[in-house]
Amino acid sequence: MATPIQMPSLSPTMKEGKIVKWLKKVGDKISSGDAIAEVETDKSNLEIEAYDDGVLQQIVVGEGEMATVGAPIAYLGAKGEKVAAPSAAPAKPAAPAPAPVAAAPAAPAASSEGIAVLMPSLSPTMKEGKIVKWLKKVGDKVSSGDALAEVETDKSNLEIEAYDDGTLARIVVGEGEMATVGAPIAYLAGKGAPASAPKPAVAAAPTAAQTPAQAPSAPKPVVAPAATGGRVRASPLAKRMAQDRGLDLSRVRGSGPLGRVVKRDIELALTQGTAQAAAPAAKKPATPVTRSVGARPEPVAMPISTMRKVISQRLGEVKPGVPHFYLTIEVEMDAATKVREDAKAIDVKVSVNDIIVKAAAIALRRSPKINVALSGDQILQYGTADVGIAVAIEDGLITPVIRDADLKGLQAISAESRDLAERARKKALKPEEYSGGSLTVSNLGMYGIDQFIAVINPPQSAILAVGAVADKVVVREGQMVIRKMMTVTLSGDHRVIDGATGAEYLRELKGLLEHPTRLLF
């Protein structure tokens, strides 16, 4: 039986080789060890040697042509023997059963599969690409230049073109899967050759050459991040002791550096009973939720797109930490101020800030792209609109969160924020009351500040810096008029949101505040 001579792997990195020259011709007698062809690899030109004796019966890959490693380039047989049908030939090397890792890139059954379509490098920084969509299906005729698939790179989505004519015989990398540059993503059967029994595309994907992207299925609920805003400094041991004994750490005075609570402080607190007030499950905070808000959906973790990853990486290099960007907008507050006065008339206490909180929450719901947070290598998409409020306290600042502020009435928001602020000043907030959410409202208007820039409270992705409401001369329809104006500056985490997203959000917010009746819908 004729045996195939296969394109050998001649260096640890070689994936394919070009036949530079055939040193033997069909019909030549060959002995083991004879050089039969010269091949150009990624490293150098080398000779391919025969490993068996026989007669060169057929050359499959001509001079100047490429062959992937493992593909037959010629057939060797006994004198006068006929060449078996190429497809039937290589029983041995194809599809290595236990697949040694090193063999995998070379192995994907290239021998009888025809022309490999490789993941191209489409940008200088591209290392891998994700198949977004196959534009041809198995069995389709393909001409050189045809778009075969759409691929997402680190920069953009591009089409992969065919460089050969033929029939799409097999898809190796399915939609939504990743492939490294240079890895085969499909095989074309040569012109005329019947597409060898089109196999179901993805199911046939070989072992380990590609790393299929983690399917974004089954979003796991993500646990609320640990306390961050206004965190209490405590040693790990002190934290554990406090938890074991149901002690509220924020009520213990720390004696360590920067007020760090340490073991001796906990011991002191326990012996002196300063912690009595914070006995386990003490008082329930009077959260006047006026109506049930139903089940709160957990945030959904989404994989970060290739582009987002690169943006976040690059911007993080320029602005280490949380790369902030800032957008400022002016809002006419006459209507919103009117709401406050209307409430007052019926003896309901509502502040401008309460209105802003509600508007900020509704705007969050309407611009979900900003309602996110970075968590490791995933983006958390919140399904709730929770808004933090910055509360100045004696020795710092804390940001309790008003949950579902988009669903709550102004009166409820008002009551809740007063309760939170009051307890914040007493340092009586529980960690879960000042964690979560994607955005905080920081209002320095009461101090007469016109405009300022706030720092994002991680892991949130945005903060609104709200200035004072003041009478200003503005131009409306060509006329100078006096309006109650307020400046809002949004700081955004550029790793997860972009300027346009922020602008859209501010436009939404401005609309809600200028037309507060929209808050009812």
């Binding site: 260096s11 150098s44 490993y51 290595p96 040694p100 070379a106």
Partner: protein
């Protein structure tokens, strides 16, 4: 003239050289198919060196080598399938797939390893020979190394000690003329390696490493000299590799003509012609030998290919010897055969050390000579 070698001896040498050749050809092929990876240094062309040396020593003599180390263990009698499995990185290899091409160890056949740092095995060999003297055994150690290793400090430091303490070790420099791609003459003040023996006052000689019978004679003679307690021998086997340094080497540093010329010196046809001239075998006999060895190698490849990769548990074995842990006997582990040739050593209570490495009179004489004592 009648041959000085028996028919059986000659045919054994031919059979082994053919086995080495065929094994390496198939190893090269399997590397090309991605079954073997990493560095892979083939022995094609140098077969006469390992086979001639091995046939000239006893099976309980020690042998070790550098990283071009598939040939020597096969010459010693290692299982071809288990050597191939090691190259494949499979659990059935001699080192469970942990060593690969450069680290073949077969202690049952007294082959103490292939070493990957140039010249690194040279001091080890002296230590093994030291142990033989320490225990008063008449065993010799044969250590192979490449021409480039002769420029390592390890070579000079070791030859000095081996000479001073008269250690029974035969150093065989396999001079294939190139240290990777650099001709030995380009980097050596004295490229004739055997001449360096004179610096340490030991016996040194050049041998035609392309002639298995000349290798056999030289090593036979050296072994007798060592066993008689005369100290080490340095042999320079002038040989040639027909393939590149490793699989990734295009060998552009030498001309095609040079390789062609050397192929005319191929040790296999040379021995075959000798045997035919002596009328000790026929062409049919050779065909039968070659067919049998081809089958051995085909079976070795099949065995390796069908073997599983090592289990992940193996990661945590063989780094530290745990208390009470036995040494692994590969053929017992893999093939289930009872290994009987495993080396054993006298206990520290049985052993009586009688060797006086530096007799007092000798030391004092040296002191007198140096004017230290009168």
């Amino acid at each position: 003239m009648a041959s000085a070698y028996s028919k059986e001896q000659l045919l054994t040498m031919y059979r082994k050289m053919y086995l080495l050749r065929r094994f390496e050809e198939r190893a090269g092929q399997q590397y090309g198919l991605g079954k073997i990876a990493g560095f892979c240094h083939l022995y094609i062309g140098q077969e006469a060196v390992a086979v001639g040396a091995n046939e000239a020593i006893r099976s309980d003599d020690y042998m070790l080598s550098a990283y071009r180390d598939h040939g020597q263990p096969l010459a010693r009698g290692s299982d071809a399938g288990m050597v191939m499995a090691e190259l494949f990185g499979r659990g059935t290899g001699y080192s469970k797939g942990k060593g690969g091409s450069m680290h073949i160890f077969d202690i049952e056949h007294h082959f103490y390893g292939g070493y990957g740092i140039v010249g690194g095995q040279i001091p080890l060999a002296a230590g093994m020979a030291f142990a033989s003297r320490y225990r008063n055994e008449d065993r010799v150690t044969v250590c192979f190394f490449g021409d480039a290793a002769a420029n390592q400090g390890a070579f000079h430091e070791t030859l000095n000690m081996a000479a001073k303490w008269k250690l029974p070790v035969i150093y065989i420099c396999e001079n294939n003329r190139y240290g990777m791609g650099t001709a030995i003459a380009r980097t050596s003040a004295v490229p004739e390696i055997h001449k360096r023996a004179s610096a340490y006052g030991i016996r040194g000689a050049a041998v035609d490493g392309m002639d298995v019978l000349k290798m056999y004679d030289a090593v036979k003679d050296a072994a007798a000299y060592c066993r008689a307690g005369n100290g080490p021998v340095l042999l320079e086997a002038n040989t040639y590799r027909f393939r590149g340094h490793s699989m990734a080497d295009p060998a552009n540093y030498r001309t095609k003509q040079e390789v062609e010329d050397e192929r005319k010196n191929d040790p296999l046809p040379k021995l075959r012609a000798y045997i035919l001239a002596q009328k000790l075998a026929t062409d049919a006999d050779f065909e039968a030998i070659e067919d049998a060895e081809k089958a051995v190698v085909d079976a070795a490849v099949k065995f390796a290919d069908e073997s599983p990769e090592p289990s992940l548990d193996e990661l945590w074995r063989d780094t530290i010897v745990e208390p009470g842990e036995e040494d692994v006997r590969p053929r017992e582990r893999v093939l289930g055969v009872k290994v009987t040739q495993w080396p054993s050593y006298p206990s520290g209570q049985e052993l009586k050390v009688t060797w006086d490495l530096e007799p007092r009179e000798q030391a004092e004489q040296a002191d007198r000579k140096a004017g230290l004592i009168r």
